[in-house]
């Protein structure tokens, strides 16, 4: 039963990965990257590695997403809406 959940999560990660590389807008790609990091935390727990799961949850879902969004806010064309 656990192995089936692992395989389904793996297929979902690959689908989101292809969507992130091929999307037209940059903000969509950043959101897909954050979703992939969240699903990989689930995979680390299934493979019985708790230290790695905590580290990836803190760094992948919180800090890297923030760095990308702050870089995207520098774009002058994207921020002119009130």
């Amino acid at each position: 039963m656990i192995e089936i959940i692992g395989v389904i999560t793996g297929v979902l990660i690959i689908i989101f990965g292809i969507l992130a590389v091929e999307s037209k807008k940059l903000i969509n790609a950043v959101v897909y990257l954050s979703l992939m990091s969240l699903l990989s935390v689930l995979t680390f727990i299934i493979m019985k590695a708790p230290d790695v799961a905590i580290t990836e949850a803190v760094i992948g879902s919180g800090l890297v997403t923030f760095l990308f969004i702050i870089t995207l806010m520098q774009d002058k064309k994207a921020g002119d809406k009130k």
């Binding site: 692992g6 790609a29 990989s40 590695a49 760095l67 870089t71 995207l72 520098q74």
Partner: protein, 111 residues
């Protein structure tokens, strides 16, 4: 079966590095490749019907291989450092050239 999926994820990241023209898309593909690699390294240490490597109240038994987990713990933090420096460089490129596409940065001559 799942080791095939993680190798495929690594190659999705490599395909993204080869074919994209936007600098931020390249940095996202680099992150995808590092995610697939970490998943693959931990999957080489899994043993069927074994427990997580923490000793609880004196029971002994078979544990999962703890050495790949120690390696990946370091690799995740180094990935954060590389992403931070790459994004700072991308910001400076935007300030100098005004765009993120490498076609417009390189100029009009193609080779």
């Amino acid at each position: 079966m799942s080791q095939y999926l993680y190798i495929a994820l690594m190659f999705v990241g490599i395909y993204g590095l080869l074919s994209q023209k936007n600098i931020l898309k390249m940095i996202i593909s680099l992150n995808i490749m590092e995610l697939g690699l970490n998943l693959f390294i931990i999957s080489t240490g899994y043993i069927n019907d074994a427990k997580a490597p923490i000793i609880l109240f004196g029971n002994e038994g078979n544990y999962v291989d703890p050495l790949p987990q120690a390696i990946v713990l370091t690799a995740i933090v180094i990935g954060l450092g590389v992403t931070a420096v790459a994004l700072m460089l991308a910001r400076n490129i935007y300030k100098t050239y005004g765009t993120y596409e490498i076609d417009e940065i390189r100029g009009e001559n193609d080779d």
